[in-house]
């Protein structure tokens, strides 16, 4: 990895591939190199601009008119290439179209709705901890980070019991597909047909149980907020982005708390810190590492001139550890004021399911900390590689009851 100044433009060109296995295995040294190279960099490997500092990432996220989403939030430019699936009506859309669909999902996943599902989510977390206490030694990814969201989210959506094993693989395809045409992406798409078929089927109104998030989306058709053909695609957004993200979020929190026993003790002494402990894990590990935008016009960003139709890669994870914004960014501190971190994004596209994620994280960490004295890592953690998501494939642990 080298940094060299490109003649004339003032934007440093870097020979860094943020989607290769070495980078994905340990992104932090490269994040630092990119952050220190300049406010805007150019990555020759994929011919894209990159922003890694907090200020620029935040600025790009909050200027959707200039840095648009409708040309895709991955490397592929929808103006030049056919998307691998019909574009999302919310993630891959701009105002005014986005404003309407966003309002529907905001309503379905609002703070008011969270109050209604809270007790159910908390009870399921307690049940999960009951099972873990029986096991004592288990895989914190499969048996906890995956098992818990799988025990509540598909039901909350109103999905049928059959076929749920497609959910995590489908999400994995979606997030791999934002990356460049590397092996991760190609393989994911090649194997996606059965997962896509399952998801398309599940998004239909007749397959969603009454009262669930999915049915609530379809009910918006009757209100005239969306059309009958739009509703299934909005349900698809929850299937794409509502499960694997929380799996990685909860996995990140457990991995942090297992690695930093002082923070675990702190949480055990004050359970009201559970929500903050989850939020700080989202900052610290940034389960969603990157997203792209595409410029709609020539723009100057922190002195760098970027032409129209250029892809800009935002390193959310690097911004969340930018020392210009955070004190001791490499420290996991559950009492940190995390407000403003970009782990859920920022601006009009900020994660619409953030309240669900926080609720799951909070009730799960509360249940764990109340009843478990110690979490010890007993084997080598294994990473799960994805072009966009950062998380583990396996985390062997042994717990000691409180």
């Amino acid at each position: 990895m080298t940094a060299s100044g490109a003649a004339g433009s003032g934007v440093p060109h870097l020979d860094v591939d943020p989607f290769d296995m070495t980078f994905l295995a340990d992104p932090y040294p490269a994040h630092e190199l990119l952050r220190e190279a300049g406010p805007v960099v150019y990555l020759d490997k994929w011919n894209v601009y990159g922003v890694t500092r907090y200020a620029e990432v935040h600025a790009v996220l909050n200027d959707p008119a200039t840095f648009c989403s409708s040309r895709g939030v991955g490397l592929s430019d929808f103006k030049k290439e056919t998307p691998w699936r019909p574009p999302s009506l919310i993630l891959e859309a701009d105002p005014p179209a986005h404003t309407r669909t966003r309002a529907v999902l905001s309503k379905v996943l609002s703070p008011t709705v969270m109050k209604q599902v809270r007790d159910r989510f908390a009870a399921a977390a307690e049940e999960r901890v009951d099972a873990l206490l029986e096991q004592r030694s288990f895989d914190a990814i499969t048996d906890l980070a995956e098992a818990y969201p799988l025990s509540i989210f598909p039901d909350a959506l109103g999905l049928k019991p059959e076929g749920r094993e497609h959910l995590i693989p489908y999400a994995s395809v979606v997030f791999n597909a934002f990356g460049p045409p590397n092996e991760l992406r190609q393989q994911a798409i090649e194997r996606s047909a059965p997962h896509q078929a399952y998801v398309a089927e599940q998004c239909q109104r007749e397959n969603l149980a009454p009262g669930g998030f999915g049915a609530c989306i379809h009910a918006q058709v009757d209100e005239g907020a969306i059309t009958a053909s739009e509703a299934p695609l909005l349900v698809r957004s929850l299937l794409s982005a509502g499960l694997d993200t929380t799996v990685n979020g909860i996995g990140a929190a457990v991995y942090c708390l297992a690695r930093f026993p002082d923070q675990w003790q702190r949480l055990r002494e004050d359970l009201t810190l559970a929500r903050g402990a989850f939020e700080e894990a989202v900052r610290f590990e940034s389960p969603v590492q990157t997203f792209f935008r595409t410029t709609t016009r020539e723009v100057e960003l922190s002195g760098a001139k970027i032409g129209e139709g250029e892809k800009v890669l935002m390193f959310l994870a690097a911004a969340n550890r930018d020392p210009r914004r955070w004190d001791e960014p490499g420290r996991y501190d559950i009492t940190r004021r995390t407000s403003g971190h970009v782990g859920f994004g920022s601006g009009i596209h900020m994660c619409v399911g953030q309240l669900v994620a926080r609720l799951e994280g909070e009730v799960m960490l509360t249940a764990l900390a109340r009843r478990i004295a110690k979490i010890e890592i007993t084997g080598e953690p294994k990473r799960r590689f994805n072009n966009t998501l950062r998380g583990l494939d396996s985390l062997p642990v042994t717990i000691t009851p409180a």
Binding site: S110, R337, S339, S346
Partner: protein
């Protein structure tokens, strides 16, 4: 620059100097007012920067938008007629001396 007053749930006052164009929420988080959580960072999505506006100031604030109104239905502490989200209150010179009371809880 205008200054605003936060009154904590226990009655303790905290005077905060604002800087140009920021919201009451931003002023609060910059000064470490712990009664404001602002989990979403000011994007009007989470309802964790809830405040009760002092009666005398209520009519002097700009009207709330529909999304703020909807979010206020989901606040952790009781919603009252004086409830607002502090991320949606932009501090202008006319709001110098604004008094905002903090609820008992934000989540």
């Amino acid at each position: 620059m205008p200054a605003i007053m936060f009154i904590h749930a226990d009655g303790r006052p905290d005077r905060v100097e604002t800087s140009g164009g920021e919201s009451a929420m931003q002023a609060a988080t910059r000064h470490g007012i712990d009664g404001i959580l602002a989990e979403c960072g000011g994007n009007a999505m989470c309802a964790t920067c809830h405040v009760y506006v002092d009666e005398s100031w209520l009519t002097r604030l700009p009207e709330m938008a529909d999304d703020e109104d909807a979010l206020l239905d989901g606040t952790a502490a009781e919603r009252r007629p004086s409830s607002r989200l502090s991320c949606q209150i932009k501090i202008t010179p006319e709001l110098d001396g604004l008094v905002l009371r903090l609820p008992e809880r934000q989540v």
